[in-house]
Symmetry: C2
Subunit: 326 residues, 2 copies
Amino acid sequence: MAGITVAFTDLADRVRCGERRAIARALTLVENGGDDAQALLAVLHPDTGRAHLVGVTGAPGTGKSTLANALAGEYRHRGRQVGIIAVDPTSPYTGGAILGDRIRMQSHHGDSGVFIRSMATRGHLGGLAVATTDAVRVLDAAGFNPIMIETVGAGQSEVEIAGAAHTTLVVQAPGLGDDIQAIKAGILEIADIFVVNKADMPGADQAVAALRAMLMLGARERGQRQRETGIPPWPLPIEETVAAVGKGIPALVDKIEEHAAYLERTGQRVLLERERAESQVRDILRAWLLRNRLAALPEGELGRVAARVAEREVDPYTAAEELLAK
Amino acid sequence: MAGITVAFTDLADRVRCGERRAIARALTLVENGGDDAQALLAVLHPDTGRAHLVGVTGAPGTGKSTLANALAGEYRHRGRQVGIIAVDPTSPYTGGAILGDRIRMQSHHGDSGVFIRSMATRGHLGGLAVATTDAVRVLDAAGFNPIMIETVGAGQSEVEIAGAAHTTLVVQAPGLGDDIQAIKAGILEIADIFVVNKADMPGADQAVAALRAMLMLGARERGQRQRETGIPPWPLPIEETVAAVGKGIPALVDKIEEHAAYLERTGQRVLLERERAESQVRDILRAWLLRNRLAALPEGELGRVAARVAEREVDPYTAAEELLAK
């Protein structure tokens, strides 16, 4: 391991300097997972943990990507270097994510202060969450701050990934129809800021009013929890934006910064970092333990057991018990 | 284990007889996971593997649920007992899924030939995929056939779950806007039948034409794969429906039946069953291995290691290696 680590010191140095080609290479390495990725991440690790992570999630059609682009523009205006990781759940099946990057990059073309990357996680042993966290760490070490993590708010893993950021924006838009519009009460638990985007469209006022009503319903429960933990409350704000023309974007950035300061002041940032670390170590362990166990079994053993399960000779749990006992 | 198994023989018998309260209780048991669920599933296992599993996936707003309900109606008309498992990714955070079930059940109210259940997977150690497969097995043993598995086609796990069914329907609808509309080329790999729902709306013809063009692009690659495997090709059909008024539904059911016969005839059904079994055994093993490893560590060890990772003393991979070595 030490030998490999030395070999990646040069790449790590170039990532730290913000060299774009080195960052792109590092991200590809990290997406594929494996020993090389680990060696690189070990070298970069001391330089991570600085960036503020902003989760951006919402149903398709709410304009999440446009919003993330607009936020990046405002942060650039304020002299910050911005990273965007777009988690596209269909990308494991295609290389299509890359085209999306090219299209999106055009709005920040030639600006080295913005780095946009879509995740393609086909190869990563630890799955989507570990791959995303690893990519965030590369951008973090390269000095990007904030880093936005954009996910579709319709898949369980994707909602969890955005929810694990420091500040999570839950994006809605008017006029998408009830099926899409409906924000489940549970999303309260991951939202730090609600954004009603496309606020110039008909129905925006109703969307805001519906959110406000929902927040009132949840307020008592949140108050209860806060009294138990002793942490001063963060009043969940509802921000209205028209991301396509930049309306409401400076105010939204102010609100994100306010939330960042709140997390710092109340000691919650440290707790969040620990939670993130614990869940990543857990995910890595889970993947490694399975790999080691399967490697220790005779060649083709899992397939033979699966065939017996398919033929109803044994049920899956008993089969798993047998494999554990071997 | 033997003692527990005996205790569940009675419940299993009642599930096999299709008794609704017993089925509901069995599903709750299975959602929570654990020893009781395993014992029950072990008893039921020999009676599973009969149902044809139909995955129904698509973006929010395409009318998946209405389509699944309409299909259930047509299958009832043909004298079949139908199960529907709706995988709602936000349900882990809420109990809200239950309300959805109540609303949806109204259209099949009093009909004991339809059983609809939304998954709430908060407690299941093995995650969404294992919980869904376990629920399917309960309905399978209770004699429901087909069983539809309805997921939002926007999350990685959800797409994989629907894609693991015997016949997977990928649902689209006109007029949802480019962001939602766009079917990624990769979805070709999981679709057995494309459905353009809401086919009476403007833009339906374009949606069908776009799909047809995309299928032409993918046809050569599929042909290649089929020559390699020697399996005769299944020409991917595009079915137009207006689920809300039942239009196109009998033809779609005919097509699903045709695909079921094709899988049987070409021996692919057996292969699919083995794949399903292998992936479930793998998921169970992964969850158990982590649980056992964490239980073997000193109390609070994972939290201490996570704190060191958060303070940048050690990177997550090295931390996981340390925990593995302990």
